[in-house]
Structure formats: structure tokens, C-alpha cells
Subunit: 221 residues, 2 copies
DNA sequence: TGTCGATGTATCGAGCCGATACATCGGCGC
DNA sequence: GCGCCGATGTATCGGCTCGATACATCGACA
């Protein structure tokens, strides 16, 4: 889950941990609370050891400002810049493509679905459809469970528990309808968000005209 | 979080782990996926060591059915009953009351809020209001974050990310409105769920007429 | 008789979180 | 100029939690 998100963000441009966390938080906003540093930094180290990312010594200011050698931060009271930028390796890009294409049941969980969806612009149409339908089935099961609980145990529950179940049922129902709309749009080749204030002319639209694009190697802008 | 839920369920009647998990799953349905046994059993052991619960040797069938010895599970091929029922101790009831009354910021997280809400029938009115308002503030913050992200970065995001943010924003907005209704009902002394199919006459209604009831010792039925 | 799914208890490795610590930098008041 | 403070930024630790897995029992159905 986190791997895919980090690889996708670093695919756009190199970044350091702090910035990465901010982007992750907004990206996962609807589904998770936030990513802790206690999660992010071990993940970065693990991905570095796997060879998917490397430390990038200076992304924006390539030390050309003067003769100052910028000795790095490593030991406290010694050294300089405190930022460590990470960038994708070739293996990292490959890994990103693999993770985008392979869709297991774990892709239907709240957070994982959000990440996959956020990268739909780089995903081929067949995979998009599979993910949307798998997610729909997942939420439908949840909805039926709620509905059964409401019908079977209505008398045994007090008013507050009842209201909680009712609220959950409504939310699940709403998400199913949302997914259904998206699936229809996918099938007819329409991009989503026809109601968005900014139609984002041309450039930002996903590649939906040709189905089954290879889903790798696509410049963000 | 789990502690409160388990104590609350065992407060109604003794139960074994499997049953406990099923009830927890429906109770937390709207907010979490499910509680794993790898979470539940260590929690039960911890609560047992803390003295809040004890093993109950036979709740429904007190071995009076006959001379059949019901070989237990303990060691394979040795021993007796396979179910282990747990019940609350006096300390457990006390602990439950404490957890119900004390409301920190952790009570506003998705899952914890759901648990607190499910036990509102045993919570005094002042605490109910504090939890609802805290939760509202929490969701409002999330909503504003989403709104800002949508306004600031609308051009930089592709259509799918945009749609994801929009969907999350709508969900947050809806929950805020739901909370607001509940708060109004609390303030005017009305119980929730006026739109429920079963009005549940009398018996199941929470004690909302008298504010600041001591929030302990109340038979479920 | 066999075996299959539901019930039931239990553990393990790995992931993840909240709290915490510490360092740097720019701006603001004085 | 100077100190303080909040935002930026990296990092670790203990403990909770999950998914996978193992194993045992029981009723049903062929």
C-alpha cells in the first residue's frame, strides 16, 4: 500500500520525507488519517535496500552557488543540509508498473483503493475497471452485512446503536452508487468529474481513449 | 478503544471469543473492517491479567445435561470444554464506567468514536454532547483540509485524483451535517432515529430525559 | 464413512502508530 | 543585533494491530 503510494509520488519528482508525508496525507485524506513518520522512514529505508529508490544529493540547488562544500547532516553538530531527497531508480519504475498492474483482494481495502484510484491516470482501462468492480463488490458485502444486522437485531439494539448502523448503511449505499457511476463512465470511455469547477483543458486528462495502454512510462506533465 | 468495546459487550452478558468478535465486527462495521483474533485474544489475556474479566466456566449449560464429560480442548486428547466464556468482574464494571466518562482526543478517531457512540445509551448527556462536538470539530478540520487541497491544487491534479478528493469532501460534509443533527437532538432532549422503521416503543430508548445520569449499572433489557 | 464448512482458540512475524527527541531556518518583537 | 518561536526536517522506540496460519470439534450431507 505505502510502497505504491511512495513510488507513485517519487515518479513525478524527487522529494524528501517531510514533503512526501504531506502529499501522502492529502492523497489518502478521504480514507486514512495520516501516515506517521514511524511508518514512513522505515519504509523509505526498506525501499532503499530493495534498490527501488536512492538518495538524491541535491534536487533544486546543485551546489553551484559557490565553493561551499555543504557537508551533510549525518552527525549532530557536524555538517550541513538537513534534507535528504529520494528519487526513483530504474528498478523502482519497474516495480511501480508491476504494483499498478497487479490487483489482488488487498486493493479493495479503503486505503489501498484510494492509492490505486489516485494513480488511475497511469493505469490501463482494463485494470481500472477490475479495481472499481472489485471495490464495488467489497462495499456491497459490507452494505448487506449492515442491512442484515439492522433487520435481524432491530429490536435488540438501543436507539443510538440503531442510528449508528443506519448511518453506516447510508454511507455504504452512497459509495456503491458512486462506484457505479464511475464504472459506467469507464465503460463508455468518459473521464470522471464532469461536475468539477475546473475542466482542466487537455493536458491533465487521463489516457482513456485507447484501452489497455501498457501502463508504464508516462511523463506527468 | 478495544478495551471499551469488549467491556461494554461483556457488560450485557458473558461471551466467548468467537461470539465477541462477531459482535465487534457488526458494531464497528461503519468504521473499521474487522477485529483480528491476533488482536482480540491478546487483549482478552491482558484484560484478564488486569483483573477486569475472568473466565466463566459454563454460562448456559452448567454440565447438568448428563454424565457426558464433554472432553475439553486444553491439551489435544485431554480435557474438557472447548468454549471459554468471559465475564466482567466488579473492577471491570468500574473500569467500563471510567472509560465511558473520560473523553480524550482519541475518542474522536473513526473507530473509537463509533464505540463511544454505540454505548451512548449508558453515557450521560453532558459526555454525549462533548463527544459529538469533538468529533464534529475533527471532521470539520478534515473537510477544510480537503477543500483547501481542492482549491489550491486543482490544476496540478489529474481528473481521477480530483474526483477522489471531491468524493472525500462530500463524505466529510455529509458527516458534519449528520453530527449537527444529532447535536441539536441532544440539546433539545430528543432521542435520535426518528426516521427508523421500528420506533422501538419504550423499552430500548436511552435515558435521555434526565441529564447527567451516573452512567453505570443499567440492565440491558 | 469421509469430508466439508462453520465454530472455536491460539500464535507469529511484520507493519504501523503515537510519543518523543533533536537540529535547522526564517521571521518577529524588542 | 539578539533571542525566542513556530515551521521544517530526520529519526527511533515500545506497544498495538493485522493477516496468515495451525489445529481441534461438530453437524450436515452424500
Amino acid at each position: 500500500m505505502l510502497d505504491l503510494a511512495v513510488l507513485g509520488l517519487l515518479h513525478e519528482s524527487p522529494m524528501h520525507g517531510y514533503e512526501l508525508r504531506k502529499r501522502l496525507t492529502t492523497m489518502l485524506g478521504p480514507f486514512r488519517a495520516a501516515i506517521s513518520y514511524g511508518t514512513l522512514y522505515p519504509t523509505l529505508r526498506r525501499m532503499q535496500q530493495a534498490g527501488w529508490i536512492t538518495e538524491d544529493s541535491d534536487p533544486a540547488e546543485p551546489a553551484a552557488t559557490g565553493s561551499a562544500e555543504r557537508p551533510l547532516r549525518r552527525k549532530p553538530g557536524f555538517g550541513k543540509r538537513s534534507r535528504i531527497s529520494y528519487k526513483l531508480t530504474a528498478e523502482g519504475k519497474e516495480r511501480f508498473g508491476d504494483l499498478l498492474a497487479q490487483v489482488g483482494p488487498e486493493a479493495y481495502d479503503d486505503a489501498a483503493f484510494g492509492v490505486h484510484f489516485a494513480f488511475f491516470g497511469r493505469t490501463d482501462a482494463a485494470t481500472r475497471l477490475r479495481i472499481l468492480e472489485g471495490r464495488r463488490r467489497r462495499v456491497e458485502e459490507r452494505r448487506e452485512g449492515l442491512r442484515d444486522a439492522l433487520n435481524r437485531a432491530a429490536e435488540r439494539l438501543d436507539a443510538y446503536s440503531l442510528e449508528l448502523q443506519r448511518h453506516g448503511l447510508e454511507a455504504a449505499d452512497r459509495e456503491v452508487r458512486w462506484l457505479e457511476e464511475l464504472i459506467v463512465h469507464e465503460r463508455t470511455g468518459q473521464p470522471p468529474t464532469v461536475t468539477t469547477p475546473h475542466p482542466s483543458p487537455g493536458a491533465a486528462g487521463p489516457n482513456n481513449t485507447g484501452p489497455d495502454r501498457p501502463a508504464g512510462e508516462r511523463r506527468p506533465d
